[in-house]
Symmetry: D2
Subunit: 387 residues, 4 copies
C-alpha cells in the first residue's frame, strides 16, 4: 500500500527547514539525505530558491506541506518562529553571499542554524553571528563536512595525545580539476563560484583552500600565526583565484604549506593532510577516507583502518572495517552530533564540550580570516599577513 496521508514524518524528530538546495543543486540533496540518515531530523519547511515556483516544485517533490514553503528565508524565519510546531533549526545551503543574512535571520528568530562554509563574507559578520548565537543561546554549526570522517577523528586523537610529539610541519593540499575548462556557461556551480558577487573575495581558496585550513586545525589544534600566499587566476575572463599556494607559520613555530587548485588535471577532491612531529606523523586522504597512515620515528608505517578495535573511541563509526563509509556518512556524523546536542539542549540539560564536537562558529570565523589573509597577502605580492 502506498500511504497517501499528509502527516509529517516527525515522531520524536527534530524539524528543520532549508534555505537553498533547490532544483539542480548538488549539496542540498546531500544535506537532506544526511540529516535524515539517523532518523533524528525531518525536513519540514523550505525556501529552496529565489524563484518561489521552483521552491514549490521542490517542496512538492519532497512531500512538504504547501504552507511550509516560503518565498524567502526572512519569511520562513519569521513564520516558522511563530508556529507552534515550527522548525527547530535551519540548514543554509545557498551560495556564499546569502549565508550571513540568512543565518542572522534565523538566529534572530530563535532558530538554531546549520550553515555551509565559508560562514560569511567578512570576519566581522562571522563575529556578529557568534555574538547573536551566544545571546540567544543557539547552536550554530558550520558544515566543514570532512571533519565528520572517523579517521580524521582518529588522527586528531593521536595528535592531541602526543603520539607524534610536537608538530613541526603541516602539509595540506586539495587539488581538483573541474575548472580546467571555462564551463561557467553550462555549470551553475561554476558560475556562482567564480562570481565575486556570489562567492566573495575568493573562489578556490574560499572553497577548498578553506577545507585544508579547517582540516589542519581540526587535527592539530594549532593556530596560524601568519601566512603568505600566491593566488593564481587560470582561465580566460576569470577574476577570482583557481589555484592557491599558501605558506604558513603556526604559533608553536611549525611551518605549513597549503595548496589548493581547481585546475590540476587528474584530481577530483584530493584533499590530503600530512602532519609531521618530533616523534611521528599522520597522513589522511579524503578520497580514501577509511584509512590513515601513522608512523613512529624508526618504525614501519602503519595503515590504520576504520572500524577496528585498536582505534580511539573518538573514531567510532557505523560499519565494521572493510565496508567503506564515504562522504554521505561523514556528513551524517556531523548532523548526528548536532542533533544529539540540540535534543539534549531541548531536554533542558546542560551541554559540555563533548556534546559540541561539531564544527562551530569559531571554526567559521577562523575560516573567513584565513581566506581574507590569503587574498590580502596575494594582493600585496605575497607579503606575510599576521592573523
Amino acid at each position: 500500500m502506498i500511504e497517501s496521508s499528509k502527516a509529517t514524518a516527525a515522531k520524536g524528530k527534530l524539524l528543520y527547514g532549508m534555505v537553498g538546495g533547490g532544483e539542480g543543486a548538488f549539496i542540498g540533496d546531500v544535506h537532506r539525505k544526511t540529516a535524515a540518515f539517523d532518523g533524528k531530523c525531518a525536513l519540514t519547511a523550505g525556501a529552496f530558491s529565489r524563484d518561489f515556483s521552483a521552491t514549490q516544485r521542490t517542496g512538492a517533490a519532497l512531500g512538504l506541506d504547501e504552507d511550509r514553503l516560503y518565498p524567502d528565508f526572512e519569511t520562513m524565519a519569521r513564520e516558522e518562529s511563530a508556529r507552534e510546531n515550527g522548525i527547530d533549526f535551519a540548514v543554509i545551503a545557498a551560495p556564499n553571499y546569502a549565508h550571513y543574512d540568512a543565518a542572522k535571520a534565523f538566529l534572530a528568530n530563535g532558530i538554531h542554524v546549520v550553515c555551509e562554509k565559508p560562514l560569511t563574507f567578512t570576519a566581522q559578520q562571522a563575529e556578529d553571528l557568534k555574538q547573536l548565537a551566544a545571546e540567544r543561546r543557539l547552536l550554530l554549526c558550520v558544515m566543514y563536512s570532512y571533519s565528520g570522517y572517523p579517521m580524521l577523528h582518529q588522527a586528531r586523537a593521536m595528535v592531541r595525545a602526543g603520539e607524534i610529539g610536537d608538530v613541526l610541519m603541516v602539509m595540506g593540499e586539495y587539488p581538483q580539476d573541474w575548472l580546467i575548462e571555462v564551463i561557467e556557461g553550462e555549470s551553475r556551480q561554476a558560475a556562482w563560484r567564480t562570481d565575486p558577487a556570489m562567492a566573495g573575495v575568493s573562489n578556490c581558496t574560499g572553497d577548498i583552500g578553506s577545507h585544508i585550513e579547517n582540516t589542519a586545525a581540526f587535527v592539530t589544534g594549532l593556530k596560524i600565526k601568519r601566512l603568505l600566499a600566491k593566488l593564481d587566476i587560470v582561465g580566460a575572463d576569470r577574476t577570482l583565484d583557481t589555484n592557491s599556494c599558501v605558506l604558513l607559520e603556526f604559533e608553536n613555530g611549525a611551518s605549513g604549506m597549503y595548496w589548493s587548485s581547481q585546475v590540476a588535471v587528474g584530481n577530483d577532491n584530493a584533499l590530503q593532510l600530512r602532519v609531521y612531529g618530533t616523534k611521528g606523523s599522520v597522513e589522511w586522504e579524503q578520497e580514501f577516507p577509511n584509512v590513515m597512515r601513522f608512523t613512529r620515528a624508526g618504525e614501519p608505517t602503519q595503515t590504520l583502518n576504520r572500524g577496528h578495535g585498536y582505534l580511539s573511541p573518538e573514531a567510532a563509526s557505523r560499519l565494521p572495517s572493510g565496508h567503506s563509509e564515504g562522504y554521505f556518512e561523514a556528513f551524517s556524523n556531523i548532523y548526528s552530533r548536532f542533533a544529539d546536542a540540540l535534543l539534549k539542549l531541548k531536554s533542558g540539560a546542560a551541554l559540555d564540550d563533548a556534546d559540541l564536537d561539531f564544527p562551530n562558529v569559531d571554526d567559521g570565523i577562523e575560516g573567513v580570516k584565513f581566506i581574507h589573509a590569503c587574498v590580502e597577502s596575494s594582493k600585496n605580492d605575497s607579503q606575510w599577513v599576521t592573523l
Copy 2:
C-alpha cells in the same frame, strides 16, 4: 518543536516490514538506513526477534506502532496481508535458516520480498520460491549487496560490450580475518554463522564465497560448467568451513579460481574480482569501490573513477567523483531499483528487463547451487562437480 504524533512516515512511500534485524544485529540496521535513503520506503512493521519483548523494544526505538509488531513472521505475513494499509514488501534479514520459510510465508500472502543471501538452504527451496513468486507475480530481490556498487556496473558494461574480448580467466577472492580466534562465545554473528543448524551446509563459502560467485556472474554473465573445491575448517571444535579454495571451469571454456577465507589475518572484506580476456582486463576491489582498473592489451592500465563523464550510463551514481560512496550507498542503489520496479508494478505498468536490474531469485538459485557444489566436491576429495 519535537513532533510527538504517531502518524507514519509514509506519504507516497512503499511500506515494508522486517524479519530479523533486532537488537545487536548489524545488517538489519543497514537494511533500514538504506531502504530509507532515497525516501521511497518506510519501515512499518517488524518481527525483529524470536523473543517478542525484544521485538517490542526494537519497534519502540524505531518509532513503530505497537500493532505492527509481531511475534513471528507467519503472523506478520498473515496480518499485514489482511490490513488495508499493509506492507508492500518484507525484508528478511534473519539468519540463513529462516530465509526459506519466511520468504515463502510472505510470497504466499501476496507480499513482495527482499531476502538476504544465501536465499535458502537447498536449491529446491530456491526453485520453490521462484515458482511461487512467478505464480503470484511478486518481486523477489536477493540482497547480493555488492552488485549495487556503480563501478561493478561499469565493469559489467565493459565486459558485456566486449571491451576485454572473450573471457579467459576469472580470479575472485574474499578474505576476512574475523574468525581467526574462536569468538563464538562473544559474537552472536560468529555463533550462528558457524552453526550448521543456523547457517546451513557451509559457513565461509556460503557467506562470502557466495559473494565472489555472484560478483563474477554479475560482471561476466558466464555460467559455471563445473567446479572442484577444498574447504578447510580452521578453529577448534568448528564443523563448518572457514577457508575455501575453488577451481572452476566456465561454459565458455574460461577457468577461474575463487578463494574465500575468514582466517586470513590482515583482511576485512577484501573482495576482489579480476577478469582477463583476449583483449583486455578489468579489476575491482570492494574496499576501494570507487575505482576500477581497465587495461587494453599493449596499453597502459587506466584507473576509472566513479562519477566521471567517461563512464557508461549504467555506472550512474549519487555523488560527483572524488567524494566516495561506500557500502550504504551500494545497498541503497539496490533498494532504489527495487522500489522503482515495485512502484512501477503497482502503477499497473509492465516491467521490462531494465526495470529488474537488481539481484533476483535466479541469482539466489545459482548461489545455492554453487555452495552445494563446493561442499559436495570438498567431501569427495575435490572431485569435479558439474552444475
Copy 3:
C-alpha cells in the same frame, strides 16, 4: 686513455664461463652484469650459441680472448678444466633443454655450476646432478633469482621465527601477458618457451609457476604434500600451457592456491606471495620488491621497507631505504653469496649452512617435481597428485 691490452680483468676474482646468453638473449646479459656487480667474478670463457660464429661475435664484443671461445659446452668444459687458469664455474643460461647435459658436463669436469631454472627436464636428471655434485664436492646453484630480494629474506626470517604462527594458507600468483598474442614468429623467447623440444613438458607452469613454488618454499619452508592442477592452453596452435591453476595441500595441513598466466592482460611480472598464519600474515610483490606488508592479528598492517634498522639481519641490502633496489640487485645478491661460498671453499675452509644461502640443487629438484606433478594432474582431469 683507452687501454688496449688484452690482459684479463681477473685480479683476485673468480673466473667463469657462460653457456648460452648470446646475441638477442635477455637473461645472459643479466647474468653477466650481476655476476660482475660486486667485483667478485670475471667472465672469461663462453659457448654463447650453437652457431660458433655468433659466439665469436659475442666474445669479441665482451672482450674475451679468442681461445676462450668454444663451439659447444662439452669442449668448453673439457678444455677449461685442463687449463691452468681455467674457469672456476660455469653459468648455464641456455634454454631448458640444454640444462642437464651442460650441467653434467661441467660437474663431470670438476667445474662448479650456476644454472637457470628449471634445473632439468626430469626429476631423475636433477637427482643425477645432485649426486654428481656431491661426489665431486662441487657447488650447484639454481638461479631462482627472486630469492635474492632482501624483503623476501625478511619475510622468511619472520615466518621462520614464528611471527605469523602456524601457516594456514599460501596464496601465490605470477601473472604476465606477453603471450596474449601469438608472437612466436617474432620473439625467440616466445618460440622456445612454447616448444616442447626446447622447454619441456610445460611452458607457463615450468617458467613462472615454478617461481611461485620456489618463492613459497623459500619463505615458508613448507613441503607440498599433494596438488591438483588445471593447465590451460590459450593461443592458436600452441601445445603447452599458458595459464595454470594449482590447488595445494602442504604437509603441515595448510592449503595453497597458485595461479600463473602468460595471458593475463595488464600484468608484466606480477609475482605475489601472501602467507597467512594463526597469528599474522606477510605479503610481498615482485614488482614493488622494496616493501612487504606484515599484519599481526588485531593490529594495523605494517609496511616494512628495505634498508631500515628494524629489519632482520638476513634482510641486509646494499642501499639505504628509499633508494630502490631491483631485479639486477636481487640477482647480484645470489651471485655474491655463491661467490663468497666458492671463495671460502677454494680457501680450504669448510662451508656451513649460512654459507650456502642460495638456491641449490634441492630447490631445483623440488621445482622439477612440482612441474611434473602439475602436468600429470592436469592430464588426469585435475586429480590429486602426491609428491
Copy 4:
C-alpha cells in the same frame, strides 16, 4: 682458479680516478658499481680520503695499483695527467666543500670530470668551471642521479611534446626523516651535511631541495623567474636548514611549490614531482620509479610502466617491464651516456645535443643559484628573490 695477475681491467674501457668515496662512504661505492655496470669504465686511480693510509686501504681492497693511489686530488690530477695511460676522467664524490677545487684541478690538467651535486659553493665558482671546461673542451657531468630514471625521461618527452599543454603548476617534494634525531655524533654523513664548512650555506635545500629543482627543470624545461623561501632549522645546536618550503614563479607564469625536509617522519627518499598543464598532468615518485601517472583532461588516469612498447624511445631501459630497475640503474644510465659521449669525443667525432643528454655544468649552475636564492629569501623574511 683465482687470477693473481696485477694487470688492469681496462681492455677498451675508459679509465677513471675517484676523489672521496673512501671507507664508510655510501655514495662512492654507488659511483664505482654504476660506472662499471656497462663495462665502459674502469677505476684506475684514487684519492679516497684526506688520510692517505685510508686511501691505501681502500685502494688495496679495490685492487688498484699502489702507484695510482694519491695523497690528494691535486697530486692525482697532476700525475695522472702526465702518465701515458692516465685516467680519462675523475669522479668527485667528496663532500661539497671539495667540489670546486677538485673539479678545477682536473679540468686544469685536461681531465674530464663527473662531480656530485651541488657542483660548487657559489654560482661564480660554477661559472668558472663552465668556462674552464669550455676552454679545454672537456666534459663536466654533474651527478643529478635521478635524471637517469627512464620514466623521468618519459615524463620529459611527454611534457616537451605538449601532451599536458602549457604548464600551470609544479609540485615538488622530497621528504626524508633521517635527521629527526641529532645523530651527528654517530653519522659521518650527518656530521658533514649539517656543518657549514663542509656543506656550504644550506643542508636540506642544498642536498635534496636541489634535487627537486633539477628534476622539475629536467622534466619541464621551465626557468625559475623568482622564488621565496622559508628555511627551518629543526634539531638542537644545528645551524643549517633541515626543512625547506619554497614558493616559485616560473618565467612562463606557472607557479610552483617545493618542499624538502629531513625531519618528516615516515619518509626515506620520497622525491615526488607533479606537473599540471592546461591539457593534462604527469606524476612521478622516486621510490616507485618504474611507473608514472599521466592524465589527459577528462580521461582516466593512466599508469605508464617502464619497459613497455607504448613509451617514448627516450625512456629506453635495460630490463623488460615488471622487473624493476632502481637507483643503481638510474646512476648507471648517466654513466653510460657520459661514457658514450666521452668515447665518441676521443674517437674524434663531433658531439651533438643528443650525445650530451646527461646533467651538465649548466644544471650545476642553476642548482647553486637556486640554493642561494632560497637562503637569501629565507634570511630576508621570505621576500621574493629574482633569479
